[in-house]
Symmetry: C2
């Protein structure tokens, strides 16, 4: 038998992540909804947070009210703990006499640690996870699901934003927020209300000098980073908005991107991993073309 | 039957991580070996790296030769890529005409991506891992093992140090080093030679402004962070050494610490995770008492 007849055809050259992103059609992207997008304005520039009302409706309603009323304007980033979180809010939050009133936001919310998975478009990863029966993406957010219990929740990956709380499960209001800046602390999943994700500008937060007090809180007020303002994008004049699109996480193109990272085919990698962790999946964003 | 006879005894109150560390005996700690400890001296202070000759003997021999001969003194940190790595070495490393000679270090080394697991005291975690058949610790380093293939390797967790290379597997010399500063890039496991771990001072590296060039390299030389010196601890006068001890990872006390993090029993956590990821296990260090 001639060799040509027995040799399998070489596999089609797999595309790199960049080639996949470059080939994305307009419908592979989705624009952020200005009504659920926060702009945190620092001296170093803007940090953009996409909120997740499908997981934490009460917290997101509170956060949008606080942003709309300028609650955080002039406050500060008060905590930077290495390999864990950066946190902001009212530096007098623990001091009942001095803390700033929440305005029209509620002072008491239910814990929103998880929700019914029914009604969510859960795009599952085939990859195994140690923390949850199943992981995947919902509307671009890394998430987990327990099919037996019918529950789903957001996963504490790098860049995810949560609502700080005290010991009581229902003690968060959304006024105190943190972002993950290290190895994913998935042990927090279902122990705290997660409200969204930083989609642009995380590097303005992750580099902040670590606080030297307990839990990475700054010991001196002068060490805190001032927050000029936190605003809802919909409260910002259109010309001053950041026209951001996020790659949709429920498309064949996204699946191809995940596979390109699960099994790297470029010349650098000698051994494709055959696996990807939920929190290692890149979630690309871009400026809307022509804007 | 009286209730008292049927109720199970309450479980013994589990100790917190801090209580466990406080209860550690001197034999639960091990001092760093000065002959395999690097001090990177920055304007902001010292970064301490423990080398892993049991995994990368040729690279560690090269690195100790380079340190002993002052190779890195006056060089710089040239790369800071968010959620990935910070990297240092000869800024002219890619420029054959201008780069600094390696002195007595070798210009060519074998790839040391993994080694025979025989002869290693591998302390396995029971927790499942997506990237490897088994994970655990070897002499305080996070590691993985494939019992079928009889191979073991270091895992790319936060703070792990590796040897940068070009496309060829055997193109690293140890002159170019990086440290993980984000979500563990475990896809690099067995694709690059890992040489050690930062045991103190990681926060001097993780906060460096991110480079704006490709892969987080700095675009301007002025953006680089100068390295005053990288020295072997054994080349430093005893009085100037950092007397560091690391908690041993092969003791019942360490297992208790891992369990305290796998299933948090403090008042904050409402739902113990029942799992811990290799890269979420804390690796405590301390200053040697009385030094």
């Amino acid at each position: 038998m001639p060799a040509a007849a027995t040799e399998p055809a070489p596999p089609a050259k797999a595309r790199s992540m960049q080639e996949i992103i470059d080939a994305a059609k307009p419908s592979d992207w989705r624009a952020l909804d200005p009504a659920r997008t926060l702009y945190m304005e620092l001296d170093s520039g803007r940090v953009v947070v996409e909120l997740a009302p499908q997981f934490a409706p009460e917290h997101v309603a509170n956060i949008t009210a606080l942003a709309h009323e300028g609650f955080w304007n002039g406050m500060s980033i008060n905590r930077s703990q290495d390999n864990f979180v950066v946190q902001w809010g009212d530096p007098e939050g623990e001091n009942e006499a001095n803390r700033k009133p929440l305005g029209s936001a509620k002072g008491k919310l239910p814990a929103e640690f998880s929700r019914a998975s029914e009604g969510l478009a859960f795009h599952a990863l085939p990859d195994r996870d140690g923390w949850a029966p199943q992981v995947g993406f919902v509307d671009g957010f890394p998430a987990a699901r327990d099919p037996e219990q019918g529950q789903a929740w957001l996963a504490h990956c790098y860049g995810m934003v949560g609502a700080g709380r005290d010991l009581a499960a229902d003690s968060s209001t959304g006024a105190e927020l943190y972002v993950v800046i290290g190895q994913s602390p998935r042990q927090l999943d279902r122990n705290i209300t997660t409200v969204g994700r930083v989609v642009e500008g995380i590097e303005r937060l992750s580099v902040l000098a670590r606080g030297t007090g307990p839990l990475g809180f700054y010991e001196q007020p002068s060490q805190r980073t001032p927050i000029r303002a936190i605003r809802l994008a919909s409260d910002v004049p259109a010309a001053e908005r950041s026209p951001i699109e996020v790659l949709r996480s429920d498309t064949p193109l996204f699946d191809e991107l995940v596979e390109a990272r699960r099994n790297r085919r470029d010349d650098f990698y000698k051994r494709p991993a055959g696996h990807i962790d939920l929190c290692n999946v890149p979630l690309p964003s871009r400026r809307t073309p022509g804007k």
